[in-house]
């Protein structure tokens, strides 16, 4: 079993005729993902990816005609917020937004607007989800993972690749890897994903990769201490980073002394989580469990 995605996932690609959307759709198809439709307004009626995938003008019609139940978004930043809401409005339950650069206040509104609906938004600025060996909804290279029993959740993009690749090099497989996105405001947080892994029969160990800024890792640490039975290995990037460019006095007052790499590492350790010093140390720690 995997979390969030599986072989029942019927994926829609928003922005399928764009450069990135097209490229990664090919990658996803090759990996085995069941892409059922693409959406590019104004190009409805075309067929892409060697004539295999129909393109629709709207998510609404795409979902009606193909039964799509998940969507991945590759559209440019200034249209991506609209794309998220369009998918949500059309009843898509899992929305993965790869796009980076959506204005933060637009995301505040979107997150609030969908918060009362039964919708899971991953991202924005997320590398997506991969569940080896057959399903990926995102841009994580398929060949850097192998199936296994380690769940990975991360705020970073490429740092996530580094970790799953290091696992594979050490012959450790991944159950599902979820990049929740690196932006200040994302749809899904660590705790959501940790709780999924806790309930996932395929997952025996969880790797959580955080970075400086915000309080997500600290909150996740409390959650792990109180609700997780499975072992968690942590890594926090940013120890060598210069002190945050503080957001005026307001930012400093809000964040107080927290949000630094030290505070996060301490929070994880206090929750009984082992913390790696660098990505390639993670497989070593897992092997010692």
């Amino acid at each position: 079993m995997s979390i969030l995605v599986n072989t029942e996932t019927r994926l829609l690609v928003q922005g399928i005729t764009g450069h990135e959307g097209g490229f990664h759709s090919v990658q996803m198809l090759k990996y085995g993902t069941n892409i059922v439709a693409g959406v590019t307004p104004g190009k409805g009626g075309e067929w892409v990816l060697n004539g295999k995938i129909p393109v629709f003008d709207s998510v609404q019609t795409a979902a009606e005609f193909t039964g799509a139940n998940a969507s991945i978004i590759f559209v440019p930043a200034r249209f991506a917020g609209d794309a998220i809401l369009e998918a949500a409005d059309a009843g898509i339950k899992l929305i993965v937004c790869i796009t980076e650069g959506i204005p933060v206040k637009e995301m505040l509104q979107i997150k609030r607007a969908i918060s009362h609906k039964d919708i899971r938004l991953i991202g924005p600025n997320s590398p997506g989800i991969i569940s080896p060996p057959f399903t990926k909804v995102g841009i994580i290279p398929g060949n850097i993972t192998k199936p296994g029993n380690v769940g990975v959740v991360s705020r970073s993009g490429t740092l996530t690749y580094e970790v799953v690749y290091a696992l594979k090099q050490a012959d450790i497989g991944t159950s599902t890897c979820v990049g929740i996105g690196g932006d200040p405001i994302v749809g899904t947080d660590f705790i959501d994903i940790l709780s999924h892994f806790e309930g996932d029969s395929q997952t025996d160990v969880v790797v959580m990769i955080g970075e400086i800024g915000g309080l997500e890792e600290e909150k996740a640490a409390v959650y792990v201490a109180n609700h997780m039975t499975k072992p968690v290995i942590g890594f926090i990037a940013g120890l060598a980073a210069p002190p945050n460019k503080r957001m005026g006095h307001a930012g400093a007052i809000i964040e107080g002394g927290v949000g630094t790499a030290e505070s996060k590492i301490n929070a994880l350790k206090n929750a009984g989580i082992q913390v790696a010093h660098y990505p390639e140390e993670i497989p070593e720690l897992i092997k010692k469990l």
């Binding site: 206040k105 637009e106 490429t158 740092l159 060598a240 980073a241 210069p242 957001m247 400093a252 660098y278």
Partner: protein, 380 residues
């Protein structure tokens, strides 16, 4: 993107926030003229985008137009924290009875904008927050509803503002929130908002930071951007949408993704080296962008080694390789490069680089170790 004090105040004034009368001066003559127009003691304030202006001598109170001219000629052309002062804001001096703080920013934790106010504003407000957190009033603004009157009023009551000033405070707070919304700011603050001796509220200093991701909606701000007040290598980086922060070490880093860039810096440090910079080329970077990034790194005279760490997802290793090759064709340098390419189109990337005589690495630990080693060995 940070706005200058004078820009923030212009925006405030357009949103019914009282600010001192005054104008921008680029010369001692201007400063004298403005002081004459205002016909009362004035304050000269250096317009540089760094904190601690006051302590660095960038703010002066003067009593006469002549004195304004003299002092202006001292400040203009001087440097504050490495930034040359090219413009002064010349404003009427205000008789201060109390300093208030009011600011707002994104609160990640609640997913909303958080408004903060304190009856003890001024430069020491962070100290107040640390030692007397009860003196900081907070209000969370629903992103879909916006700031409501009752919320601003509750702030006024909580910081024990005298009642006759509530109406003005509510209007200022709403004006600040509107400024923040319209400009797509991630921070807007007035510090201090002062109660004058004659019982009015006036915004004495203002700061705004605009969300870089929303700058496309504000072409006027981008146009008026004052690059002279910013570090040249950071300007260059922004031109190519690169996240670049100069640091004090000697190993230049080029990485895709902020998290991996930080992890790369961390592992350099873990191996006993020091990163010369943080540099994130973002996702899906073109060869041109990679070349620009390397040019910026190589312009730093402290750099003794360059570590390129790319883990391709949306970024393709072949594009990165083309960019590296390009810059090495353009710039002749003997600085050693350590290259690590993994992920999307990794094979194609390696092939492109095969011709160039570059050190490669398979693991991040190996790459970091080699980079630290090379930086110790390097002697130009």
């Amino acid at each position: 993107m940070r706005l200058h004090e004078y820009q923030s105040k212009e925006i405030f004034a357009n949103h019914q926030i009282p600010v001192p009368r005054g104008r921008l001066a680029s010369s001692p003559e201007d400063a004298k003229l403005i002081a004459e127009e205002l016909n009362r003691p004035v304050v000269l304030k250096a317009q540089v985008l760094v904190g601690g202006r006051g302590k660095a001598g960038g703010i002066r109170l003067v009593k006469s137009p002549g004195e304004a001219s003299d002092e202006a000629s001292k400040i203009l052309g001087s440097k504050i924290k490495e930034i040359p002062v090219r413009r002064l804001l010349v404003e009427e001096a205000v008789n201060i009875q109390q300093e208030i703080y009011i600011g707002m920013t994104i609160d990640r934790d609640s997913g909303s904008t958080l408004l903060i106010a304190s009856g003890e504003g001024g430069v020491d407000v962070e100290e107040v927050a640390r030692t007397s957190p009860e003196k900081i009033a907070r209000v969370y603004v629903d992103p879909l509803l916006g700031l409501k009157d009752y919320q601003a009023r509750n702030l006024a009551a909580e910081i024990e503002l005298p009642r006759p000033l509530w109406r003005s405070f509510i209007s200022i707070t709403k004006g600040l929130y509107q400024s923040y919304q319209e400009l797509d700011a991630t921070l807007a603050e007035i510090n201090p908002l002062v109660i004058t001796a004659d019982g009015r509220l006036i915004a004495l200093d203002g700061k705004m930071i605009i969300d870089d991701n929303a700058l496309f909606r504000h072409p006027d701000l981008v146009e008026k951007r004052d690059f002279s007040a910013e570090a040249p290598e950071e300007i260059e980086a922004q031109k190519f949408c690169l996240e670049y922060i100069k640091l004090s070490g000697d190993i230049g880093c080029l990485v895709n993704g902020a998290g991996l860039a930080m992890a790369t810096m961390d592992i350099i440090q873990h191996n006993g080296g020091q990163p010369a910079n943080f540099l994130d080329i973002g996702g899906g970077a073109s060869a041109e962008k990679v070349a620009a990034a390397l040019r910026i790194i190589l312009q730093d005279p402290q750099v003794k080694t360059v570590l390129v760490n790319i883990f391709g997802g949306i970024t393709r290793c072949d594009e990165v390789a083309i960019g590296i090759k390009k810059i090495l064709d353009q710039i002749k340098t003997d600085i050693p490069f350590i290259i690590r390419l993994v992920g999307t189109n990794e094979k194609e990337g390696r092939e492109i680089l095969a011709s160039a005589n570059l050190e490669t690495a398979d693991t991040l630990q190996e790459a970091a170790g080699k980079a630290v080693q090379k930086s110790l060995e390097y002697a130009p």
